[in-house]
């Protein structure tokens, strides 16, 4: 007996939606196996990892805080990927957004009214767009591969941030430690409730809904889909794939930049060398898990946030390594990609005899 993949005559829409669910289910089962191998009661392990984050208001709030940047970056990326534009450098655009936006409280520290925050958010978005525009222009002008250029620019932005917070933007009263001055008042995002949830979550949700409308109800959304699926047909319709590259990078870069400044202006409250645990890269998984659909991305963002918080809870509650969270994320992405084959292929079990017969023939 062996397994054979057979191409379906057309896309199986049902699997397009079921694949992420199957992938999550398989991840849970595999996770249980891993816990069992590590000598931990699998049910207890899975409970701590996947359920406990939802059992208290505090951890639900923390899930939302963690999911916010993932969703905001993820929705931008989902549209870029839909258009067949491969922006892998969201982490860099996130960092540049943080730098641009943080220039306001660092250079004009006395300015502290609602307009300060608006200026920070606008500048942050511009920062991300500027950083996204570079690979877009290199692609349009020179045909440079945007996957490579956008990825390389991540390291440039991180080194720039490093240089700034260790040098000219260092807090003069901070004992030479690499941190900027702390932000306060209107230099930070207004908090909703008494935890860490802030206005940023509301902004991310509104943007996700707006983009869902853009994709399903507007000509621009149609243009994105056509150019993504059939560039040649798009050209006949008068759409320019060059303009689409620029549009996709400005949109996804700008949103990543906005996520960057919102993160710095909320959970961190100052500029420092480490501002992201890899949000820009994790958001790539989020975009795919969310089926490149802005509303799907909201749920995918929560799933990935659970994997981070669950990993931490497992460390505290079960005493297992922090690598667990990474393993779970990796397994999840692996299963999604595997299950996505089901959209275009069906699995057939082939008996041994015919195969041997063919070998003899």
């Amino acid at each position: 007996m062996r397994i054979e993949l057979e191409k379906r005559p057309e896309r199986a829409e049902i699997f397009a939606w079921a694949s992420p669910l199957i992938a999550v289910a398989l991840t849970v089962v595999t996770g249980g196996l891993i816990f069992a191998l590590a000598g931990i009661n699998p049910l207890k392990g899975l409970y701590v990892f996947f359920i406990e984050p939802f059992t208290s208001l505090w951890s639900i709030e923390e899930l939302i805080v963690k999911a916010t940047p993932l969703v905001l970056i993820g929705v931008g990326l989902s549209i870029a990927y839909r258009a067949n534009v491969w922006n892998i450098g969201a982490e860099g655009q996130f960092t540049m957004g943080a730098i641009f936006g943080a220039a306001v409280p660092i250079l004009l520290n006395g300015w502290n009214d609602p307009s300060t925050l608006v200026a920070m958010l606008v500048l942050g978005t511009i920062g991300g767009m500027v950083w996204g525009a570079i690979p877009a222009l290199l692609k349009v002008r020179f045909g440079a591969n945007e996957i490579l250029t956008s990825l390389m620019l991540v390291y440039v932005s991180q080194l720039l941030l490093d240089w700034l917070v260790r040098g000219i933007w260092r807090d003069p009263k901070g004992f030479n430690f690499p941190k900027s001055v702390g932000f306060d008042g209107w230099q930070t995002m207004p908090v909703i409730g008494d935890g860490r949830v802030n206005l940023g979550t509301a902004i991310a949700l509104v943007i996700a809904v707006l983009l869902a409308v853009l994709m399903s109800r507007t000509l621009k959304g149609f243009e994105v889909r056509v150019l993504g699926q059939a560039p040649r047909a798009g050209r006949f319709a008068g759409f320019s794939s060059e303009r689409m590259v620029v549009f996709a990078f400005l949109l996804s870069g700008g949103l990543a930049g906005l996520a960057g400044i919102m993160e710095v202006a909320s959970t961190i409250g100052q500029l420092q060398p480490n501002i992201s645990p890899g949000y820009g890269f994790t958001a790539i998984i989020v975009a795919f898990l969310g089926r490149l659909n802005p509303i799907g991305v909201i749920f995918a963002g929560i799933v990935l946030a659970v994997s981070y918080l669950g990993g931490e809870a497992a460390q505290v509650g079960l005493g297992i390594s922090d690598k667990t969270a990474r393993v779970f994320q990796g397994i999840l992405l692996f299963y999604i990609l595997a299950c996505d084959t089901l959209i275009l292929y069906r699995i057939r079990l082939v008996g041994r005899a015919p195969a041997e017969a063919r070998a003899h023939a």
């Binding site: 260790r166 004992f175 961190i268 480490n274 931490e312 460390q315 509650g317 390594s321 922090d322």
Partner: protein
């Protein structure tokens, strides 16, 4: 506080517990937690803190229950990791990296009944104490050894971040080396990470190819020493005794012994005598320890041990004047020594170091 009383009663230190409720809570252990910046398997800084945690468990037995969270980034995740431990019922939480300073303060303000201990920072609260070790004392000693042992008069120095702790270490090393060898040169490579075995090994190879025959590191992995072993040269371990990774290369190491401090602080919570303090201990208190010196001639070993004895006795201060900056200006005249605030905010090199401090 109620629980506190219950614990005190159980230990027979305070009230003679008679209440049924008190007795029911008597079996409850004191929960203590640690937050590490690296993996406990780094065999360096975080590993050493974890040895301290284990020492607490060993010393206080079933009176305590300890947990830890490793590999916590010094970013937005730190606050949540610390708060999780606070919510999990821990009474004392040790946050062991500089970057956890502001998150620790934030969480501490929300949980005034929990005690926090932050390593290497400078912000304190009523329920936040700070602690650190005078690593630079050890660096002065290894500087002397390197000054004696180098044949090429060139030392390769691999460093993480230009923060005062690291800069004062470089300066103390140089002052120690210059005290026995005025021609010694120090070459510096910044790897911008506390723990990155690949980068650290690359830096080590570059330094060796530039003529360094002694390697010093202020990063946490064992990679540089392993390169030293491979190239047949000498080096020093960081944070932890790394001799088993490079038995022929390691002369000694600057190890951090947190055991006594951690035990005394957790005990203080048990006894109800915990206070916010600022601890900066060195060789005298046993927080900075150099494992037995090896791979050097007897006279060098005797010299180093003599210097250690003098530092322990307080008769030798690594930052005693006269000290000159790179540009030749005098920082402190002969007969005086740098005070703690000056050492804690050091951002200049002493004369003779061939590098520009990243600004």
């Amino acid at each position: 506080m109620k629980r506190f009383v219950a614990i005190a009663a159980a230990l027979g230190l305070g009230l003679a517990g008679g209440l049924a409720a008190g007795a029911a809570k008597a079996a409850e252990k004191l929960k203590a937690a640690w937050v590490y910046v690296g993996p406990v398997g780094d065999f360096g800084y975080s590993y050493q803190h974890d040895l301290g945690r284990k020492a607490v468990e060993k010393a206080l037995g079933d009176k305590v229950q300890t947990t830890y969270v490793e590999n916590v980034q010094e970013g937005p995740d730190a606050e949540r990791a610390i708060e999780r431990l606070a919510r999990d019922g821990n009474k004392i939480i040790f946050t062991t990296s500089f970057g956890f300073m502001d998150p620790t303060i934030k969480v501490a303000k929300k949980y005034p009944n929990i005690y926090f201990e932050h390593a290497t920072g400078f912000k304190r609260e009523k329920n936040v104490a700070t602690f650190s070790a005078r690593f630079y004392e050890g660096r002065y000693v290894i500087g002397q050894i390197a000054g004696k042992m180098s044949k090429t008069n060139t030392v390769g120095y691999i460093v993480s971040f230009p923060i005062p702790e690291v800069v004062s270490g470089i300066n103390a090393f140089m002052l120690g080396a210059q005290s026995v060898n005025p021609n010694i040169k120090v070459k510096i490579v910044w790897v911008n990470s506390w723990y990155d075995p690949g980068k650290e090994a690359d830096a080590a190879k570059v330094l060796v190819s530039q003529g360094a025959d002694i390697l010093v590191q202020h990063t946490d992995s064992t990679a540089p020493l392993q390169v030293a072993q491979e190239k047949g040269i000498l080096g020093f371990g960081q944070s932890s005794d790394m001799a088993k990774f490079a038995p022929k290369a390691q002369i000694t190491a600057i190890t951090d012994d947190w055991d006594p401090y951690y035990i005394s602080r957790v005990k203080a919570v048990l006894d109800g005598t915990w206070k916010s303090t600022d601890t900066w201990d060195g060789m005298k208190e046993g927080m900075v320890v150099l494992p037995p010196i090896q791979n050097v001639p007897a006279d060098v070993k005797a010299l180093a041990e003599g210097t250690m004895a003098k530092i322990t006795a307080g008769t030798l201060k690594p930052f005693a004047g006269p000290i000159f900056k790179q540009d030749g200006s005098q920082v402190i005249p002969a007969g005086k020594e740098l005070d703690d605030p000056a050492i804690l905010s050091m951002n200049w090199y002493v004369k003779g170091i061939d590098d520009k401090l990243p600004q």
